[in-house]
């Protein structure tokens, strides 16, 4: 199908406008991160216009931002980065492993009450996180888990309703005969899940991993509630350190620089995983 030049022009225009709307805040964040302290302050308070390019890019802002993060120069940043990485990796692993295992059980095992269990699990998706926040906090305090990463990480190993649902739907489409062939070949349920089902679920796992990664990496509220000391803070919480005690902003240029740094892994991961998403959709899952 060939589009007329006019239609193409309109299409391009719409796409460019849409892209601009999404890209501008990021661009502006990058611009401010390169400004001098005074110009950044002015840009934030609105007393100066919005510049599309910084007149004299201050690359040193990035080094300053990294040094100023947390209470110990340099090491504050390394600490926060390490915390973020550990929490995120554990949460991604836990979510993918537990959700796919539960999804397999719900899709393939016939047991009394499997349907009510499935519905109950779907029901939990309707609960806003704020509702369970205080009970959970009290529970974890009983466990003595406050100011450790356990409250952030352990729940991930008990599955995520949405991803369990995704895995279940996907696994239900895998031909029964594949599972039966594996049984004849001598595999038990755990081995079937690990060696046959999980490799076939790659597209779902990619989606699960990327969304969980982004959600956890950027999560602010969870770490804020459970991690109180400076050394246990994640990057998202460390960013908050650039606010002063009255909630106002100091060193906006440094905040923006650290924000840019924090965002990079998400963008890289998303671009890398895009291929797997498309591949998974295009290959028509497991047909053939």
């Amino acid at each position: 199908m060939k589009r007329s030049p006019l239609a193409s022009a309109i299409l391009w225009l719409v796409l460019i406008m849409g892209t601009a709307a999404f890209v501008f805040p990021l661009w502006w964040m990058a611009v401010v991160s390169l400004e001098t302290p005074d110009r950044a302050e002015a840009a934030i308070t609105g007393s100066a216009g919005i510049a599309l390019f910084p007149p004299s890019p201050q690359l040193g802002n990035y080094a300053d931002a990294v040094r100023e993060t947390g209470s110990v120069p340099w090491w504050g940043f390394v600490d926060a980065l390490a915390n973020s990485v550990v929490v995120t990796v554990l949460v991604v692993l836990g979510t993918a492993v537990s959700s796919s295992a539960v999804g397999y059980a719900l899709a393939r095992l016939r047991f009394r009450g499997s349907r009510p269990v499935f519905l109950l699990m779907l029901g939990t998706m309707m609960l806003p996180g704020q509702v369970t926040m205080i009970p959970l906090f009290l529970l974890f305090r009983q466990f003595g888990w406050i100011d450790s990463i356990l409250p952030l990480v352990v729940p991930a190993f008990f599955g995520n309703a949405f991803f369990i649902f995704m895995y279940r739907q996907f696994i239900a489409q895998i031909p029964e005969s594949l599972v039966e062939a594996a049984r004849v070949d001598g595999l038990g349920h755990v081995a079937i899940w690990w060696r046959i089902v999980l490799p076939l679920c790659r597209p779902v796992t990619a989606i699960c991993a990327v969304f969980t990664f982004i959600g956890t990496w950027n999560d602010f509220l969870g770490p804020l509630i459970y991690l109180h000391s400076d050394e246990s803070a994640t990057l998202a919480v460390a960013l908050n350190g650039f606010k002063n005690q009255y909630g106002g902003l100091e060193d906006v240029h440094l905040l923006m620089a650290l924000s840019v740094l924090t965002m990079i892994p998400c963008i890289v991961l998303f671009i890398a995983a895009q291929k797997t998403f498309v591949e998974g959709l295009a290959r028509g899952a497991v047909k053939g």
Partner: protein
């Protein structure tokens, strides 16, 4: 290799309405070592369920199953030492052909390796085992002509090639019993016939015990040492293909085995004459006087001139020319009948022609009335 013995095996299902459904009923079957046994019947006759019970993929509700004289009712599939070839092949999509063939061998190794590793310097034993598996995969792929495909994934193969890999995967394990569930039904007609011949040759070479399920009676007859015809969850006849064809045990088998199917007419016999719907023909007097069904094969029918002695008037409804022979469908007082005649004899036959038909009374069959009415033994 091994014998397979089923004694009063049955399968009960919980139906949707809570009622109990009997899918398979009192199946008695003794399959000898190295025998090619084919279960055949229309869909829903219980043949696949029976096969899956032998495999251990379905629980056995009643009766006993023995492999090599050992009761295996409660043994899981993996411990029965069987190989199963699925209708859709069930190749693992994420593994290459070589990995698919080796998979069953690898998992069996994995069972042992923990013990082996604990007892000895595991490295050497593992390497030895890997070499053995590789050799086995090479041997199997040579047998089936899969060598050029070993590095490919199932999605890159044609239907026939996938089928071959599925068979290769079964052979590699060298199981006691091979179970095939309609393995040819996803292939096109030509490939099906080729593969059929290959399977037969493979069986001769491996001297394997095979239980094979199909709904295609022609495929069943060409492959089987022993033919087990099933209908409504029961075994209707258990005999050689030739026996089933020549002496069908009941009316169902008579109608199911043979293409085109046997002509079956409900009527009654008296004093050496069979009458149905006012039209009568002579039959052997030994049949006695009783209501019964008369059966005669299409190739025993003769087309004669209208009004000839000992014939019944009929009209040609359709002519199907198959080259060397011709199938003629006849409308008669006995209903729609099929005659299979020499192509030369039927050269002048046309749809709408008024003719008569007679049949070879010595080759007629008689059955009790009803769908599965038993064969009436003459004499």
């Amino acid at each position: 290799m091994a014998t397979v013995t089923l004694t009063k095996v049955g399968k009960l299902y919980e139906g949707a309405s809570g009622a109990t459904v009997r899918a398979v009923e009192a199946v008695d079957l003794a399959i000898a070592d190295g025998e090619f046994c084919v279960l055949v019947g229309p869909s829903g006759c219980g043949k696949s369920t029976t096969l899956r019970m032998i495999a251990g993929l379905e629980e056995i509700s009643e009766g006993t199953l023995e492999i090599d004289g050992r009761r295996v009712n409660d043994l899981p599939a993996k411990d029965r030492d069987i190989a199963f070839v699925f209708q859709n092949y069930a190749l693992y999509p994420h593994l290459t052909v070589a990995e698919n063939i080796a998979f069953g061998l690898e998992t069996r190794r994995a069972h042992r390796s923990a013990v082996v590793a604990a007892l000895s310097g595991a490295g050497a034993a593992r390497r030895e085992e890997s070499t053995r598996i590789q050799a086995r995969v090479a041997e199997v792929s040579r047998t089936l002509g899969l060598d050029p495909l070993l590095a490919r994934h199932p999605r890159e193969l044609s239907g026939g090639q996938r089928q071959r890999v599925a068979v290769g995967r079964a052979i590699a394990r060298d199981p006691k019993v091979f179970l095939f569930d309609e393995p040819l039904s996803n292939l096109d007609a030509r490939l099906r016939i080729e593969t059929r011949t290959e399977l037969r040759m493979l069986h001769r070479r491996l001297k394997a015990t095979i239980v094979y399920v199909t709904h295609d009676q022609e495929e069943a007859m060409t492959l089987a040492d022993r033919l087990v015809v099933m209908h409504r969850g029961r075994v209707q006849q258990n005999a050689s293909a030739q026996e089933c064809y020549e002496r069908p045990a009941n009316r169902f088998v008579a109608g199911f085995i043979g293409t085109p199917p046997m002509n079956l007419v409900d009527g009654s016999a008296a004093n050496g004459v069979f009458t149905a719907n006012g039209a009568a023909l002579a039959v052997p007097a030994s049949i006695g006087t009783r209501p019964c069904a008369l059966g005669f094969r299409p190739d025993r029918v003769r087309i004669v001139a209208r009004g000839a002695a000992g014939s019944i008037a009929a009209t040609i409804a359709a002519v199907e020319r198959l080259g060397d022979r011709t199938d003629i469908a006849l409308d008669s007082p006995w209903g729609r009948l099929v005659a299979r005649v020499d192509a030369d004899a039927a050269r002048d036959a046309h749809e709408g022609d008024a003719v008569g038909f007679a049949f070879d009374a010595a080759h007629s069959h008689f059955f009790e009335p009803g769908e599965c009415g038993a064969r009436i033994v003459q004499g």
